[in-house]
Amino acid sequence: MTAAASLLDKLWSSHEVLAREDGTSLLWVDRHLVHEGSHHAFAKLAERGAAVAEPELTFAVVDHYAPTRHREHIADPKIRRMIETLRANATQHGLRLFDLMDPAQGIVHVVGPEQGLTLPGLLVNCGDSHTSTHGAFGALAFGIGATEVAHVLATQTVWQKKPAAMRIIVDGKLAEGISAKDIALNWIAKLGSDGARGHAIEYAGSAIRDLSMEGRMTLCNLSIEGGGRFGMVAPDDTTFAYLRGRPFAPTGGAFEKAQEKWQKLHSDEDAIFAKDVSLAAEEIAPTVTWGTSPEQALPVSATLPDPSRLSEEKQKAARDALDYMGLAAGRPIEGTPVDEVFLGSCTNGRIEDLRAAAAVLAGRSAKVPGLVSPGSALVRHQAEQEGLDQIFREAGLEWSASGCSMCVGMNGDIVAPGKRCASSTNRNFRGRQGPGARTHLMSPAMVAAAAVTGTITDVRPLLKGRAL
């Protein structure tokens, strides 16, 4: 009898070209996604005079620097140069490029799944830490640095030590207005921003099964904020239904054949996990961050922590964070005035996220300005077909083109120093949204609630009597 295998074990062994005596494996890469930030890696390749080993498996996306307004004339020469460099590299190596004006352009972690480039059982690499997103399909997906990107470009393989397996089980039913974002902020607050360091997380349990693909992607995306380089969900009928008919996905008989294989991609019943964590879905409330690390998160009904009551280790960090955020210890989080809102990012820029925000905003006005940047041009198109753009515009928010935008600020969309932003993004680090910017992470519905009231607000009362 063979030993019980985890999903991680199964994915790992199917990609292992060889294992060195020191325990490092050489893994075959099925999909390599590159973006403007990959310029260092292409430069390394050029230094060696090397070609991209598998152009057919390599896809380029303009996202990190993509302007969300006035795409035709990019004023900033640095931004223009970053995009032109990617274009030149994609052309030179014969890569399919999702360029600025491509009807399928968008954020790399939105485009991959949307195009059916992301499939169960694949190994997906990208020079971006949120590559864990693709694990939502039962893929082995992880972010890598520029040297590793150059290595994948040159060899279509990556050296990696196998992480330990970790499982987060969420059973039960999420209450209305609670989403995958709240699950993620919840476990990160409990386990810490390095709670999953060295581990590959598998999300399981009935609440995870009930999530849409969009929700699973949000959850896997945020794995890295808890220190996990990998996040994954075993594929099921929800996964297969999402994939059928996607542009690059297998078709007809090939799809059926693939699906037979995909159905075996789950952890065996008695598989062993180095870490096992359980959460009850019913206990998860709308969650917001108050500090400068994703672990500094609390239910919206809570009060801001009093540093003197925290463990010695956390005191200084909490004091510094409250100071940076301009918040007073012991006060309720709810009611904190915000200066602006942002909806978008690879975490929460998908159609379901925009629908959730629109459900709150419909027929209401935003008290503060805000930007909505759909995760891709296709999400944007879909949202316009559904009239969501009208809801956002009528509420007073700006409806823009897609890209990483105000999540990372590289394209010039930033929050001004000292300003407070309710944001559907993934990092509340100091200066992440711009120097001195104060970020509160929350779900898209909660961002919409903050827009409507101009303060951090529990979204649930605003959803009463509304069809979701």
Binding site: W28, R31, S129, G145, T155, T251, H381
Partner: protein, 212 residues
């Protein structure tokens, strides 16, 4: 990348947990070509006051010649930007000593000859205690896995494969190309058993359904 076995230099303490890579180098500097040097961007916003002048109390400003950084838990968490390592390396750093590192940061560090040395929280405190006003001379012995600061000698952990790589200054691509036959065989096997892995040509799939 040049290999190394021992390093003698100045250590500086940065007693803060969760220094993320956005702090190590803010995103707005990342479009700069590497040839211009990334050392100027290291911890850019943390080491400056609001007006842009250097904050005199910041450890790295007080000890500008440092090459060994002793830091808190979860150093280099967050974004996979290798530019965070470039900023450290270009500023003259050879090693970061901390109780834990972000997984991606640590492998990026090793790929650039920067040692991510793991030392327990208690030993970190001991090392910091040896420093005079947050700075002091230090010595690292890579092969034996020890760091010496003042009168203290503290062992550090490092994955064996990473130790070998740092000592030899190996380039992974050269190593990997020696396995080209094994890679080709894996590829052909995958083609045979799992042809669905190769992406469908875009135009074969007429039913483009975008976002559901």
């Amino acid at each position: 990348m040049a290999g190394w076995t021992e390093h003698q230099g100045q250590a500086v303490a940065l007693p803060v947990h969760n220094i993320d890579t956005d702090q190590l180098i803010p995103a707005r500097f990342m479009s700069t070509p590497r040839s211009e040097g990334y050392g100027q961007f290291l911890l850019h916003d943390l080491r400056r006051l609001e007006g842009g002048s250097e904050c005199p109390d910041f450890p790295l400003n007080r000890h500008p010649q440092s090459s060994i950084l002793i830091a808190g838990r979860n150093f280099g968490s967050g974004s996979s930007r290798e530019a965070a390592v470039y900023a450290l390396v270009d500023a003259g750093f050879k090693a970061v000593v901390a109780p834990s590192f972000g997984d991606i940061f640590a492998s990026n560090a090793v790929n650039n000859g920067l040692l991510p040395a793991l030392v327990s929280e208690a030993e970190i405190e001991r090392l910091m205690g040896e420093l005079n006003e947050g700075g002091g001379s230090a010595h690292i012995h890579l092969e034996h896995g020890h760091i010496f600061v003042g009168g203290s000698e503290v062992p550090f952990s490092l994955d064996n494969s990473w130790r070998t790589k740092l000592i030899n200054g190996w380039d992974d691509i050269d190593l990997t190309l020696q396995h080209d036959l094994a890679i080709e065989k894996h590829k052909q096997d995958r083609r045979t058993t799992s042809s669905w892995v190769w992406p469908n040509a875009e135009d074969q799939n007429s039913q483009v359904n975008g976002s559901q």
